[in-house]
Amino acid sequence: MSYYEKNGGVAVWSFRESILFTAILLLSGLVLELLGGGNGVSLPSWPLNAIWLSGIVSGIVIAGIWGRQHWFIAWLGGIPLGLSLIFALAFLSFFGGVLPQEQGVGSEWVLRFRFNQVFSSWPFALVVLFFMINLGLSLVWKLVPFRRSNLQFILFHAGFWIALTCGLFGASDLQRVIIPLYEGEASSRGYHAGTKRTVDLPFSLHLNDFEMEEYAPQLGLYDPSRDRLEAESSNAVLQVDKGVKASWPELQVEVETYFPHALKDPQGKPVPSDTLAGTPYAFIRGTFKGKPFSGWVSTGSPHEEPVFIVLDRKLLVLIPGSAKKYRSEVMIRDERDNPRQVLLEVNRPVSINGWKLYQMGYDVEAGRWSKLSLVEGVRDPWLPAVYTGFFMILIGNVLFFWKGMKKTRVL
């Protein structure tokens, strides 16, 4: 090959060879995928994944320390190959970012090359493997001998290496389990979202109460022939409240009365009631094509039909408000039967026996009357390692920012 260049006294392959090598890597991955029937790569779980990883790390360290002078190792850990692999990762991610990533979704060639699950495909696995080697070698060279001036490089690159590697190798040990809970009942079983396989958990959950807050319902003009809501003149989502005004072409309305929770009396007139049983009702007064009208509208509930006002071929309706907050009051009992009362809420998970519990969902049809709460249990033993990587990236990033600010005289 004629594309040799001098790098620290060592002759190495250059950019052109790196691009060629990466292209061969991608093609080999595609061929492997084709031969394997588009089944992709699945890594072994604990402890085999840890053994594999240790092997790779040892190989990188040994090659990095003792093979440093060899042109091939120097090239394997160099920037030209690194850059080619970065582009290859971006290229493969492009497929993942454009095509829906779901099992069995896509045309025949998409499925055959596994572009519908590109992040567990052979081309991706091969590129990542060489990326790990490339990044790993460059790290060894910055670590041995250690210099303080290399700290930012080491933190950023090692952080990325650790997060990427532990995230991918740990994926086979990640467990995500959906635990359906019904009010007043306990459960110590869940199921895997993908496989639907039942999983016995090392704790039990008793749902004492599921409660939900909603935003105020929304006033809307519904056109059944087109199955859509007409845009209000101010282009706003109109949360109903006493005195709220709204207008559409030829239609002006004002909310005269609003009951967030109401039930009908024997005469059919809505009266305020307690929170649990009541349904939102609003009394509307307005004019349509110059003629005055008035009437009640209601969102309805699982126990009551909705109420609306007919205006020619359109309907003035009250749309249930979107979810504001929902939470489950749960009693957790661990393997030793120790009870613990917790409140599960979106963005507020709770930890138990190496698992993290999340408020995931509820019976959407029933809305705030739901007696079902869906809790997700996640167990990810590799998380501390991935987080170590994340925090190293963050610290490296802060140092990089600081150095950059000094260098460019901003600070």
Binding site: I86, G97, Q239, F400, F401, V410
Partner: protein, 266 residues
């Protein structure tokens, strides 16, 4: 303030920026006009800042949920980058590109008005909401300015040379922007773990955020190699297109059907 009042604020700001830009450009011949020009441009930004504050107060939640709301921030932050570059590095031309971009984003909002919606879904009710989105906005703004500086260099000196200052500006802004992209990506992962149970799920928005990050990571490494400076300016000029896909283009891709990152009102 709501979107109803937005056109008044937007047209006023654009008018100030246009007048300020014209006066400031005239200042090349008559130096006495430089300061009034800059003040007029600053006044345009002040109008938008005031609107954003009043909009936020009226909305009862951070205006960082919909694309229209992020464009509002963008229109405020990008001229700020232009003004800061002028203040720090005495480079006067970048601010013109910045206000043109800001006016462009305001125009998109004028042409496709956003729905005024006070609701904030539970997944977004988190301490991570503001840092994650603002860090990304700052990153995007810096990289947009970097791209503008690269285009300026390429167009003003087609055969190379003369563009050293422009090259430095686009380079430094890209480095800064990359720092913010990295923060945004990691903050997003940490938040995703709390909200959705896992730090990375290859959601289309996440994938595109990674692609953008990789593209700028590629720039950093290309810069470390002996690649022509002009090629690097082309790289920065075009790299921003990937960010645009990541920011709002992703919503129009087939992969976006099941994205957990869709917060747009219908």
């Amino acid at each position: 303030m709501t979107w109803v009042e937005f056109p008044y604020a937007a047209y006023t700001a654009i008018a100030f920026w246009a007048c300020g830009g014209a006066v400031s450009l005239a200042g090349v011949r008559k130096p006495g006009l430089k300061v009034p020009g800059l003040l007029l441009m600053l006044a345009g930004s002040a109008v938008m800042v005031l609107f954003l504050i009043l909009f936020w107060v009226g909305l009862d939640r951070p205006p960082l949920r919909t694309l229209g709301e992020t464009r509002l921030w963008y229109a405020i932050l990008i001229p700020l980058v232009g003004f800061l570059v002028e203040y720090r590095w005495k480079i006067t031309w970048l601010k013109y590109y910045c206000v043109v971009l800001a006016a462009l984003f305001l125009s998109i909002n004028l042409m496709s008005p956003d729905l005024y919606d006070k609701s904030l879904m539970p997944a977004l009710q988190s301490i991570w909401f503001i840092p994650h989105v603002v860090v990304y906005l700052v990153g995007y703004v810096l990289l947009a300015a970097s791209s503008a500086a690269a285009w300026h260099t390429l167009l003003r000196s087609p055969r190379g040379g003369m563009g050293e200052t422009g090259e430095s500006v686009s380079h430094y802004l890209a480095l800064l922007g990359f720092v913010f992209l990295s923060f945004g990506l990691v903050f997003g992962a940490l938040w995703a773990k709390e909200a959705w149970g896992h730090y990375w799920t290859w959601d289309p928005k996440e994938t595109w955020a990674l692609i953008s990050w990789l593209v700028y990571l590629g720039y950093m490494h290309a810069n470390a190699m002996n690649i022509g400076r002009r090629s690097l300016q082309w790289y920065l000029g075009l790299a921003f297109l990937v960010l645009l896909v990541s920011w709002f283009g992703v919503n129009y891709l087939p992969s976006a059907q099941n994205s957990v990152h869709s917060y747009q009102s219908v």
